[in-house]
């Protein structure tokens, strides 16, 4: 026990109010700036659409980190796999390169079913990765750093297997995957609030909706089901929860499955928005996901969602003349957050234990 003298307690309370006050003022200023900027609302909506995908992708990282305290560097590869699985489940043919050139599946699934199927297959790959790259090392009690490297090795292998099998070309999903729909929605000017009418691509709305549904389902799973409760117990203390009769290894498998599932769905969503641009599709996204989870606080699930949305919106607000620097935004944010607030936006400072 540590004795706390009166003055330091007062100082702490003062600091608490000051920091919350500062944060509140900053948020109000930010919202005003967004609403009054020339195309503020338009950027906001664009940012939220991609931010939703960042959020669910980062959730996959964060779920595994919260339980194993290891970053699964194969998550970017899972993301790529999910996008490819969806492509092939829709019955589309492989391109001209690779060992499987011009092959196609004997059936065609409607796009939404294929997307879920792609996610499930990606989840199974997640399970496979846990069995081959994580569990053997965990059973040996190896350094987490080594597990990180073995997950990287698996990522390199997956990316090159994809390249060998289906080639490095660009794959595009079928047009109008959700049936006939207008290409964009015109939201009008919100009664003169913005100078130009706000136009949102339908795909963006779908992406945002799918990612938010995923977030809600995942939140329900973690907070509302018995398995989710066990998962949280394992995240809190794996040894104690296994002593209490929780099958830790099984729950870790479940975590990898869910992580792969959301990663695969994120891959499909990004593939919808742009294209599936080859086996290295997931690498940059994987790095950005790291920025998102640090911003939200490593292992913090609501934090990952907030972090994803914040980074998506921040990227959308990059002025068009500096658009080339957009890729760096996430990393500048990552660097600053690590220096100023390493526990993340929503996190609390960790107490250094000896």
């Amino acid at each position: 026990m540590k004795l706390v003298d009166q003055s330091s307690q007062q100082y702490r309370r003062l600091w608490w109010f000051a920091s919350r006050g500062f944060a509140a003022v900053a948020i109000v200023l930010l919202i005003t700036a967004i609403l009054t900027a020339p195309s503020g609302l338009q950027n906001l909506f664009n940012g939220l659409a991609i931010g939703g995908v960042y959020a669910i992708f980062a959730l996959g990282y964060t779920l595994i980190f919260s339980i194993l305290r290891i970053i699964n560097f194969a998550h970017g590869a899972i993301f790529t796999l999910g996008a490819y699985f969806t492509y092939f489940l829709t019955g589309a043919a492989v391109g001209f390169n690779g060992l499987l050139a011009n092959q196609r599946l004997p059936f065609e699934l409607p796009f939404p079913v294929a997307m879920i199927g792609g996610g499930l297959l990606a989840g199974l790959c997640g399970i496979l990765i846990e069995r081959v790259a994580f569990r053997p090392l965990r059973n040996k009690g190896a350094d987490p750093l080594l597990t990180l490297v073995s997950s990287l090795g698996v990522a390199v292998a997956i990316v090159n297997i994809i390249q060998l099998l289906v080639g490095a070309e660009i794959y595009s999903y079928p047009r109008n995957p959700f049936g006939e729909m207008p290409a964009a929605l015109n939201l009008g000017t919100f009664g003169g609030l913005t100078q130009r009418p706000i136009i949102i691509r339908t795909i963006q709305v779908i992406i945002f909706a799918v990612s938010m549904v995923t977030v809600v389902l995942l939140t329900y799973f973690i907070n509302g089901t018995k398995t989710g409760k066990a998962l949280r117990a394992v995240a809190e203390d794996a040894t104690t929860s296994s002593l209490l009769g929780i099958n830790t290894n099984f729950l870790i498998l479940v975590t990898f499955f869910i992580s792969g599932l959301v990663g695969g769905i994120a891959g499909t969503l990004v593939g919808l928005s742009v294209n599936v641009s080859g086996p290295y599709f997931g690498i940059n996204f994987g790095l950005k996901g790291l920025a998102v989870i640090v911003l939200g606080g490593l292992g913090d699930i609501p934090g990952a969602v907030v972090g994803g949305l914040v980074i998506g919106v921040a990227e959308a607000f990059v002025p068009s003349e500096y658009v080339a620097y957009k890729e760096a935004i996430a990393f500048v944010v990552l660097f600053l957050v690590l220096l100023l607030r390493p526990q993340g936006l929503l996190g609390r400072a960790a107490v250094q234990k000896v």
């Binding site: 190896a142 750093l145 490297v149 297997i161 060998l164 920025a291 220096l339």
Partner: protein, 329 residues
């Protein structure tokens, strides 16, 4: 021999450079800091050499570029990398473990995007036509520069490991709190280790800019960081020999698979094709497997000690030691 060098000349030079890069990551790791910033400094060094040799020291036709100027560029590149390391290192070395790794990844990526968009760094094309000091297609003459750099770095690190500074690094790695209680200044030594690593990476970059003849933003990326980390961990992160051997091994491996194994006579063509096109798959699997079977890397400090011990131990003494089975315990 002639044929050997014409096939493997550039691979051998790259093996030496991989050793230097691996040492640049090993130095901060000696002090317990997982820094993935080496590709950033490597890129900085390459750009320094590229700018100096194409903008400042002009007028030398290809093949007659003085070797001493390359050495000078390497020194300048090392100094500028050190400067970058101080600017980046002092704030970010307060972070620990995975947080530092992430911050250094961020540094590498920001640098890459910056370089990609600067016209004076050549943009996406980069800087090309970097003059060569040697007339050669095989690039094997670059060993004249790469090998001294590697050996110098190895001697430096080997001496460092036995010096006061090296012991301070190891103390920090083993227990930072205890080390600081014993009067080791954590921040000072961490920044020192980080800066030393940056100098090595910068010099390797400067040399490689000449070897490759061109330098662009694709040279220092996250992929390279991962590769260097694999060099260190596959080779062994507890002695300076580990990273060097790991680097040489992992650079040589895909080349050997490509040229020797896949080209072996009498091999099933399907397997040969797989080895040629899928060698990076094997590479990834190998990294994952080697981490499992050699958790301390291929080269460990005990590798040499243990052998001496078993030699010294008489056979009778070994026989006489009572065997305890699990049941008895």
């Amino acid at each position: 021999m002639e044929g050997f060098f014409s096939t493997y000349g550039s691979a051998i030079v790259q093996m030496a450079l991989a050793g230097v890069l691996a040492l640049s990551l090993y130095l901060p790791l000696m002090a317990g800091q997982l820094s993935l910033a080496s590709p950033g400094f490597y890129a900085v060094g390459g750009y320094v050499a590229a700018l100096l040799s194409t903008q400042v020291f002009t007028g030398f036709p290809n093949g007659s570029y003085p070797i001493l100027l390359v050495v000078l560029e390497m020194v300048v590149a090392g100094a500028i990398s050190a400067l970058f390391a101080l600017i980046i290192g002092i704030p970010s070395l307060r972070l620990r473990g995975i947080y530092l790794a992430l911050a250094t990844i961020a540094f590498v990526e920001v640098l890459r995007v910056f370089a990609l968009n600067q016209p004076w760094l050549g943009g996406a094309v980069g800087i090309y036509n970097i003059p060569q000091p040697f007339f050669s297609a095989t690039r094997v003459e670059y060993l004249l520069l790469a090998l001294p750099l590697l050996i110098g770095a190895m001697l430096f690190v080997a001496r460092l490991e036995r010096s006061r500074i090296g012991r301070a690094f190891v103390a920090l790695r083993e227990d930072e709190l205890a080390a600081s209680a014993m009067g080791v200044r954590p921040t000072y030594y961490k920044v020192l280790a980080f800066t030393m690593g940056a100098v090595l990476a910068g010099m390797a970059g400067a040399l490689n800019a000449h070897i490759l003849n061109t330098w662009n933003a694709r040279q220092g990326t996250f992929d390279l960081a991962i590769l260097i980390l694999a060099y260190v961990l596959v080779g062994g992160s507890r002695t300076f020999l580990g990273p060097v051997i790991g680097g040489a091994f992992l650079v040589a491996l895909p080349e050997i698979i490509l040229r020797e194994v896949a080209g072996a006579p009498g091999l099933n063509p399907a397997i040969a094709t797989f080895l040629r096109d899928g060698r990076l798959i094997l590479f990834g699997v190998l990294i994952a497997v080697s981490v499992f079977f050699f958790p301390y890397g291929l080269i460990t400090p005990n590798l040499f000690k243990r052998r001496k011990k078993t030699k010294a131990l008489p056979v009778e003494a070994a026989k006489a030691t009572p065997k305890v089975s699990r049941g008895e315990l």
